[in-house]
Each structure stands twice: as C-alpha cells, then as structure tokens.
Amino acid sequence: MRDTFVKTLIDLAKSDSNIELITGDMGFGVLKPFWEALPNQFTNAGIAEQNMTGIAVGMALEGKTVFNYSICNFPTLRCLEQIRNDCTYHNANVKIVSVGGGFEYGPLGMSHHTTEDIAVMRSLPNMIVCAPGDPTETKLITELITNHKGTCYLRLGRGNNKTFHNNLPKLKLGEAIPLIEVSDNTKVAVFSTGAILDEAFDATEDLNNKGIKTALYSFPTVKPIDKKTILHVASKVDLIVSLEEHNVIGGFGSSVAEVLAENRNKACLKIMGIRDTYTNVCGSQKYLRHLFGIDAESIVKEVVGRI
C-alpha cells in the first residue's frame, strides 16, 4: 500500500512541480524512489512533527501541494493543534499521510498502535479523512486528494496488501465501493474501512458460503461519509456490521451510526473495532486483530450469533 502510494505520488509529482513531499525522518527504503527521482520536491524535516506541519502550511500558503509523511500517531496526534489551527482552519493544501493504521506495527507496542486517529482527524472541520482498503484504492485516493484543494488525512497500511478490485472502480471522494452489492434477500452487509478489508473480505466469503447472504462495501473515505450508500443498504438488510482497526469511539462505525441515527432504518448496526482499550502486549497484526475480536473469524461469529 505504501509502495503504491509512493509510486502514484512520483507519477503525479513528475507532472506537477508544485507537489512536495516532506518526511518526518521516516520512510527508510520506501521514499527512496521519490527522493532519487525528485530531489527538489523532497524535504526531510527531521523528527519534529510540530515544525514539519508548520513548514508544510507555510509551503502550502505559497501554492504548494504538500504531503507530510510519517508513521503511526506521529503526524497526527503529536502535532494535532498545528493541524487544527494551521492546516484545517486555514484550509491549507496539506495532505497528512500516516503509514501503519491500526496494528500494522503491532510488535512495536502501544505507542505504535494507531487506533484513535480517524476519530480525532474526523472531528476537525474542513478535514477529509481517507483510509483505502487495498493498493487499488490507495492509487485512486492518492490521486483524488491531490486534486482536492484543502487538508486531507490519508491512513495507509504498510505492505503485502492484497488487491481486492479486479477493475479500477470509478471513485469520488466520499464514495464507498461495493465489492458485493446488496440485492434482494441480502441479510447482512459488512462496511469496512482501511486495510482491514482483507478480514472483511474473508468473513463475507465465509458467511455467503454458510448461506447467509452478505454484501460487502469498502469505504476508502470516512469523511465525508457516503450517506447515500449507507441509507440504501440500511433499507435492504437486517444487519450492518462496520469494521475498523480503530477504537469504536468516534471512528468509522460512529460515522455510520451518525447517519443511521438520524433516519428510520430496517437495519441495525454492530460496530466492530477496538472496544475502548489499550493493550499491554505486543504481537503481529494478525494476532492483535484476533485478540481484539476484529478478524474474519470474529466477524463471522458475531453475525451468526445475531442472525
């Protein structure tokens, strides 16, 4: 995913010299293709995220499209006030990119678990929040946020992400992508955001094999949220399961719930995510997803128990 992001950005930046990439001293081996190809559009601002954000804002005010690259919570929570006052309030054309959403850096421990970023970024006016589900979505979203004038947050997985789209779907910011559309007799729909799409995909496959007709939608944009799709699906199915590698408070599921709560719906919603806790143990992403009950097996168990 991150390699797709860098490759896409190189292509975009080659044809637009106003695109700048700043790193907070992250991206060893990942950003090298960018700095080798476009050294004049690359800056390492060092390990200083508050300053990095301010620098990006100053550059954006001078007409640049600035990508601020780092990992985990460093480019978001560490410099949140700079994002609020300097980026979003000024509508600065800064794209905050964090690699390692959720438990991508699971073995590194709690400091590197990125599990509240969607909630915090989503609460900022003028902010676009994106979490693509696979490399295909990553490419499309990278292009879309580049063309959007204003502050965006891009939450990425690391590597080895499977591709779930055979064709390039047409996409606008704020639209969900159906992988399996609702139809008559669909009982359940799974809504997924970010790289945990693989668990959603496996769970949906398993549920359909078990005879529980289940739809699947990927939400590469969390803000603005695709109200139209949510309400359409909610009028067809009995159960919507939202899935995120993130705290259940304030994140993607909350965003879906906000839409549903203001309307009468056929469906009820189960928000699956981390249940407002930290972990004192480390482990692989796979292990931690299982531990927190957000892997494919847990989704299937949850749905079967409710249907």
């Binding site: 004049n40 800056t43 601002a45 060092g46 200083a48 508050q50 300053n51 990095m52 954000t53 301010g54 620098i55 990006a56 804002v57 100053g58 550059m59 954006a60 005010l61 001078e62 007409g63 640049k64 006030e81 700079q82 006052n85 300097d86 309030y89 000024h90």
Partner: protein
C-alpha cells in the same frame, strides 16, 4: 506619518480598543507597539491597495494576543477604515482577540503560541527554493520560547539556511503569571539562538532608530536566519502598567485607570500627531 506617530497611535488605539471591549493583553500591545510601527512603516514591502501582491514581505504575528497592535497599524496604513477597530472583541466582529486572517493585510491567524515560526520558515523555505524576493518576518513573545516547536523551527531554519527569515522577540521579560526568569529561565537567551546557528542582533525595542537598523534586510547574513532580540518593557508608555503583570489580563477600566492612561499617553503625543479619537468624537 512618521514611525513615532504610528507607534503612538498603536498605543492610543490599544488603550481605546481594550477599554471599550474589556479586552486583555494591553501590556503586550504597549510592549510591541514600536516593533510593529517600525515593521509597518519602514521595513515590510507591503501595499494596502494590493494586500496579496506577489512580492510582498510576509509578516506573522506569532504572539497573536497582541493582535490590537497589528490591527491598529493596518488601519493607520490604510488597509481598512480606522473606525472598524471599535468592533474588536465584539459579537460578530472579524477582529478577533487573537490575530485573524479575515482582516486585509493579515497573512496568518495565530493565538496558540509556538505556531508562527514554523509557518514563517515554510514561507521562507519556498522563497529560497524558488528565488522569490520576499522575506518572512515573525514576531514572537519571550514566554512563547518555552514552546518546543519554536526550537524545532530554529533547527530547521538554520539547517536550510533561511537567510530570508527574520524572527523578532518582544523581550519584555514577563509572561503570563510572572517574569520569564521565575517561570522558565531563558537566559542566556541570545547565546542559545547563536548556538542554534542564527544571526543574533540585540537592540532597544523602544528606540525607533535602533529598531530600523536592526530589522533592516541589510543586517541579514548569508545562509543564516536572523533573530532580533528587542528589549522592551511590558506596558511601555503608561507608567502604572509598566512591568506590572496585572496588565497582561486586566483592561483599563472606566474612570481613573482609563483617564490616567490617556493622560499619560497624551503627554507623549508627537508634535503634529492627531489623536484619532478626538477627531471622530
């Protein structure tokens, strides 16, 4: 208008604006008044008829709580009508207590400390990369230098040789609750900036000629950002406000406080300078 007149008018507006709106930070406005006057009258390449002109110098007031001083300077320089200053702090006004980008001539909103220097460095960084002729100026408070982001930006500006960046410290040696020395000691202040690789200039922040000399682009040194430590007095110009922390938050109340402040200011009025409030009343 001479710079001395502009400085006096900034103080005069400051007293009036904080008085009628019961606003804080008159001590800071009086402290920074001469620095702001010199910047707007003698240093910054700006045009009130074309506030966004391409080659303008960029100015950021990072100690956003001294907003009244910049609003007053912009009004007196013709960016907008002086009468608009009366709405400072009031309902539905765009003259926020902390400096606002909604005002013609204001480059950037601030209010939380430690934000201005990184942004100014970003502006200068682009100018440097693209050979744009402008300078970025940023005015910071001394207490503001408690913020780590200031020192992050200090490292960056030095590393990237931003010799088109001038930071000015309104060094009145007081912050929110007491003196800087009793809060978090900054001294030896100039040495710290020198150690960070900056071209450091120290001057009397109430001496117009010293300020003109120190803030001039001629003082910049190749490949180094410039820091001007302007030694000031908090509350300068009103004796009972000088070096008195009370006036960081207290406003000049109706009666003795307001009357005496005005009396003292009027006694300092430069010859030929017209008090804007005597004309409009």
């Amino acid at each position: 208008m001479t710079t001395k007149e502009l400085a006096w008018k900034i103080r005069r507006h400051g007293i009036e604006m904080t008085h009628i709106s019961a606003a804080s930070h008159i001590g800071s406005v009086l402290s920074v008044a001469d620095i702001i006057a010199v910047l707007y009258n003698d240093i910054l390449n700006i045009d009130p008829k074309n506030p966004k002109k391409e080659d303008r110098d960029r100015f950021i007031l990072s100690k956003g709580h001294a907003a009244a001083s910049v609003y007053a300077a912009l009004a007196e320089k013709g960016f907008f009508d002086v009468k608009e200053l009366k709405t400072f702090y009031s309902d539905n006004s765009k003259f926020l207590g902390h400096i606002s980008k909604e005002i013609d001539g204001v480059e950037f909103s601030s209010g939380s400390l430690g934000h201005g220097l990184p942004v100014a460095a970003g502006l200068s960084y682009v100018a440097k990369k693209e050979n744009k002729p402008f300078y970025s100026y940023v005015v910071m408070g001394d207490g503001e230098c408690d913020e780590g982001s200031v020192w992050e930006a200090a490292l960056f500006a030095h590393h990237f040789k931003l010799d088109n960046l001038v930071a000015i410290i309104d060094y009145n040696k007081m912050q929110s609750l007491t003196t800087c020395e009793k809060t978090i000691s900054l001294e030896p202040f100039g040495s710290k900036w020198k150690a960070f690789g900056w071209n450091v200039i120290e001057c009397d922040g109430h001496n117009i000629e010293e300020l003109k000399y120190s803030l001039s682009k001629d003082r910049s040194v190749k490949d180094k950002p410039t820091l001007v430590i302007a030694n000031t007095v908090k509350g300068k110009g009103v004796s009972f406000m000088e070096n008195n922390i009370l006036w960081h938050y207290r406003y000049p109340h109706e009666g003795e406080e307001y009357d005496n402040a005005l009396k003292e200011l009027r006694a300092q009025k430069p010859d030929g300078c017209i008090d804007p409030y005597e004309v409009t009343k």
